[in-house]
């Protein structure tokens, strides 16, 4: 009995290791370009906004929320104003059609008394513009599933590649200047082998891009 249990544990451990090894097949590159000095006080906050002007894609709000959550937690955490709360409070100045595209537009926007007052209420020191998307390519393989009186099962193999590419542009609200850009590119191969039961081994491409970008942004804004 204990022999079977030990074998089961051993088999489970091997499967876990295999899944862990395969699901970790993601490579992430982060590039930073600094244009100005940064730093943030305790009473100040940042807001992370997704760019949604492009016709064929838009930066997903889930990715924006993910970066915000990572920056708002852990050591050297930064106060992050939630995107939707900020956009609603600033309505109609940060809608896809009206949002500032350049720092010169921000300067003009800050000349509006109602905008400057709201920005002050939030204590926003930096605006981070996130722009990008995750693309899936190279889908190959096939899986077929059958069901019969004796049971059901799937057989086959599928694979695909995910590529997440995101830019973060950081604007200093006080000086209405761009202080830097951080580019993140993550890619990874996902696998779906099916031997009776499909076992998805998903490359956590977007999640990795989010955590690496958030970590780099946190250091950047803190000036370290």
């Amino acid at each position: 009995m204990s022999y079977i249990a030990a074998n089961l544990v051993k088999t489970g451990g091997i499967i876990s290791l295999l899944i862990g090894a395969l699901s970790a097949c993601t490579s992430t590159t982060v590039d930073e370009f600094r244009q100005g000095e940064t730093g943030i006080e305790n009473h100040e906050s940042i807001v992370i906004l997704g760019r949604r002007q492009a016709s064929d894609y838009e930066t997903r709000s889930e990715f924006v929320d993910c970066v915000g959550e990572h920056m708002g937690n852990g050591t050297n955490s930064i106060r992050v104003v939630p995107e939707q709360e900020f956009v609603d409070a600033m309505f109609p100045w940060f809608e896809p059609r009206t949002a500032p595209l350049r720092t010169s537009d921000l300067e003009k926007l800050m000349a509006e008394e109602v905008v400057a007052q709201k920005m002050d209420e939030f204590g926003v020191r930096y605006i981070v513009w996130l722009d990008g998307f995750t693309e899936t390519s190279g889908r190959t393989g096939s899986i077929s599933c059958t069901i019969g009186p004796g049971g059901a099962g799937c057989f086959g193999f599928g694979t695909w590649e995910d590529d997440a590419s995101f830019d973060a542009r950081i604007w200093d609200v006080d000086s209405a200047t761009s202080v830097g850009t951080i580019n993140t590119d993550a890619n990874g191969q996902s696998y779906l082998p099916a031997l009776v039961i499909p076992i998805p081994l998903i490359a956590r491409v977007e999640a990795n891009a989010c955590s690496r970008l958030a970590s780099q942004l946190k250091d950047f804004v803190n000036g370290s």
């Binding site: 064929d56 894609y57 838009e58 409070a89 309505f91 109609p92 059609r97 905008v115």
Partner: protein, 207 residues
């Protein structure tokens, strides 16, 4: 005679049941646009504005057809348009009065009457466009009249909204989301461009 009457009654019941089944199986999906719209942060104009929502706007609905010409979606957005204008207009003008007729506007002594109208509504579904987004376009005719019904300005505004398929919403929810984005787009461009419309600007300068 009684037998025939009973047969007719049974036939009618059978026919209506079958019709009901047929409609529920292949019927049109009803989408009532619902969303919340924030109040704009803009400077108010010192005007008393009457708003006239006509029946066409109140009951506005758009029907999307399949490629074979069958009704696929019935999108009702009249109520959401009224909710949107009710949120936006009080932030733009000192006083806003909803009127049911031009005569009422005249007796209320307002500065002008605003009468919005929807000219065109378009929906683009991923299944037809092969793009990864649901899109909604709406074309409006914005009319501004004096309390006496004379012309002040008449301009066209278009609004656009999209929702990516990657949000994994149902088709109905994705259409609603795209329409709400389009309505927000309308609110932002209308509230920011109102005073910039040449005829409106001239009229404001004459006040």
């Amino acid at each position: 005679m009684t037998n025939i009457a009973l047969n007719t009654k049974s036939y009618n019941k059978f026919a209506s049941t079958m019709l009901g089944l047929a409609l529920s199986a292949c019927g049109v999906s009803n989408v009532v646009i619902e969303g919340s719209f924030p109040t704009p942060n803009i400077n108010k104009l010192p005007l008393t504005m009457a708003v006239l929502y006509d029946e066409a706007l109140r009951n506005f609905a758009y029907i999307e057809y399949t490629e074979t010409g069958e009704e696929e979606f019935n999108i009702e957005s009249g109520l959401s348009h009224i909710q949107l204008f009710d949120a936006v207009l009080p932030a733009m003008f000192d006083q806003v009065i909803i009127v049911n007729s031009m005569e009422e506007a005249k007796t209320r002594g307002v500065d002008a009457v605003f009468a919005p109208a929807i000219e065109e509504f378009q929906l683009a579904l991923p299944a037809k466009t092969k793009l990864d987004v649901y899109e909604v376009w709406i074309k409006y005719n914005m009319r501004l009249l004096t309390a006496e019904g004379d012309y002040i300005a008449d301009w066209v505004l278009t609004s656009y909204g999209k929702t990516p398929t990657a949000t994994f919403l149902s088709v109905e929810a994705a259409i609603n989301e795209a329409a709400v984005v389009a309505l927000r787009d309308l609110a932002s461009s209308f509230s920011l461009s109102f005073s910039e419309v040449p005829e409106v600007r001239d009229w404001l300068n004459r006040l």
